[in-house]
């Protein structure tokens, strides 16, 4: 399939989707804003500065919790990946908390952490950390024995086996963990902000109250952008630095 055919399909599809959107918005009425109403709302949001303030706040909260999650998940996941005893021991906690619905912990976390920065950090951390631990763990635990053997033949024993063979072999999983973790972190930040009506959450609740669907939709689209741009950038890094081993994370 040539590139031009792909582009042709994409532009055709975009026009079609746009037409469907316009017709649907026209039929439904004010509840579903059309492209023009959405663009106008977006411009207003930028002009008032509310969106930029909220998004930068969200980004800071994501960064704090995500940073914490990375700092914990990489060493813990690495230990679990190389040591079966630690894997059995720590894995019990990780899987138990992995399946726990973090959203259902919100009323509890607010009791423990209050409504300050600690609350956001805790929610974002809990959303991101367990996925990352499991991916990093899988990266080290699934290094093929052939790779290990080849390393041993070339003299990589003891700590050298870790530094020169196992850790580089797990690099693709490490980058995948960063990507999935970032995505989870954004979800956590949005959940936390909706819960205590701050930042993005405050904006969305406000627009809901007065049924300003075009403004609400504009905010949702920016949340989407925040998630997608980060994931895309990390996927580029993945292809650049870890392209030799495709990691499917599901």
């Amino acid at each position: 399939m040539s590139l031009s055919a792909r582009r042709r399909h994409q532009s055709g599809g975009a026009i079609l989707l746009l037409a469907v959107w316009v017709v649907a918005a026209w039929r439904v009425g004010p509840a579903l804003p059309g492209p023009v109403a959405l663009a106008r709302a977006t411009v207003d949001l930028y002009r008032s500065g509310a969106l930029v303030d909220a998004l930068s706040g969200t980004l800071v909260r994501v960064a704090l919790g995500y940073g914490l999650a990375v700092a914990v998940a990489f060493p813990v996941g690495a230990l679990m990946g190389v040591d079966t005893r630690l894997d059995a021991f720590l894995g019990t906690y990780v899987t138990a908390l992995f399946v726990t619905s973090v959203a259902s912990l919100l009323p509890f976390l607010i009791l423990v952490a209050g409504t300050g920065a600690g609350f956001y950090a805790a929610v974002v951390f809990l959303f991101a950390v367990f996925h990352m631990v499991l991916i990093v763990r899988a990266g080290l635990a699934t290094v093929e024995s052939g790779t290990r053997d080849a390393g041993r033949v070339y003299g990589a024993r003891g700590w050298r086996a870790y530094v020169y063979v196992l850790l580089p072999a797990a690099l693709p999983h490490a980058v995948a963990a960063l990507r999935v973790g970032y995505n989870r972190a954004v979800k956590g930040a949005v959940v936390a902000e909706l819960w205590i009506y701050a930042g993005i959450g405050e904006l969305l609740h406000g627009y809901q109250r007065f049924s300003q669907t075009s403004s609400a939709l504009a905010v949702v689209l920016h949340v989407l952008l925040l998630a997608v741009v980060g994931v895309r950038l990390l996927r580029v890094a993945e292809r650049r630095y870890a392209g030799w081993r495709v990691v499917t994370v599901r």
Binding site: R85, F89, Y93, A103, Q208
Partner: protein, 256 residues
């Protein structure tokens, strides 16, 4: 290779370590709860409340069942829409070119941000909750279905051709058969996301029985009740994913 004796020793040790992990966690929980009695309830009282509210008064059980009803309807819709769309996207390159970027983006979007819009669109009705469950679950179904269809190895199709199966219909059947495990993975992951979506709907759309249970427990500092709700939800989630997984394994076995 390890012999059967060594395998069972390794298993024994693994289960021993898991048990140890549980004991350590319960001990630490008990110790913290003893000093922080306002913020954390000891494990025994969480279990007591869990048993009371699910088996005796059934407040929690009824709340869970009500939430699961929304989850089930939303999940069924997600499968009914997600699998055909995934097949279409997987089989048709033009459709894939148009929808792939959108699917990819929507898959990583925090769907909970839609909650305030759903309230505007559907009011305080179960339809909004079902819509949120659908939005949580559908994209993982579509993406896994599509992936199963697009990564059918050329060797498999060549083999089918060698055996005389060069008609389009048979090639299609080979690809669909190859996609089955991936579709089932999507269904299993979708079940987990549907339960999460139902929880999010309870907390962020309007609080029905379950949302009320969690929020009231928190607001009145009844931590044992709150944690009992969290534990019950975790069990429900594991059960949902596990049972869809079991159905999937049975389907795969009977079709192989």
């Amino acid at each position: 290779m390890t012999g059967p004796g060594e395998v069972s020793f390794g298993r024994l040790r693994r289960w021993g370590l898991r048990l140890l992990a549980v004991v350590v966690a319960l001990g630490a929980w008990q110790a913290v709860a003893a000093t922080q009695s306002l913020l954390l309830a000891p494990p025994a009282s969480v279990v007591r409340v869990l048993v009371r509210d699910t088996l005796v008064t059934r407040v929690l059980l009824d709340a869970l069942l009500a939430a699961l009803r929304n989850a089930a309807v939303g999940y069924a819709l997600a499968l009914a829409v997600g699998v055909p769309v995934g097949v279409l996207v997987g089989l048709s390159p033009p459709v894939r070119h148009v929808l792939d970027p959108a699917l990819d983006g929507l898959y990583s979007t925090p769907m909970v941000a839609l909650a305030p819009l759903l309230v505007v669109w559907f009011g305080l009705s179960p339809v909004g909750k079902i819509a949120l469950v659908f939005a949580f679950a559908v994209f993982v179904v579509v993406i896994n279905t599509k992936a199963g269809l697009t990564d059918a190895p050329a060797g498999l199709l060549d083999a089918a051709a060698v055996y005389g199966a060069d008609t389009r219909l048979v090639r299609l059947r080979v690809r669909l058969r190859h996609a089955l495990p991936s579709v089932l993975t999507g269904a299993r992951l979708g079940a987990g996301r549907a339960v999460r979506g139902a929880v999010a709907a309870e907390l962020f759309l309007y609080a029905d029985a379950l949302g009320q249970y969690l929020i009231d427990s928190g607001a009145s500092f009844e931590v044992a009740r709150l944690l009992a709700g969290v534990v019950a939800l975790t069990l429900v989630g594991v059960l949902a994913v596990g049972s869809v997984g079991a159905v999937g394994r049975r389907v795969r076995r009977s079709s192989s």
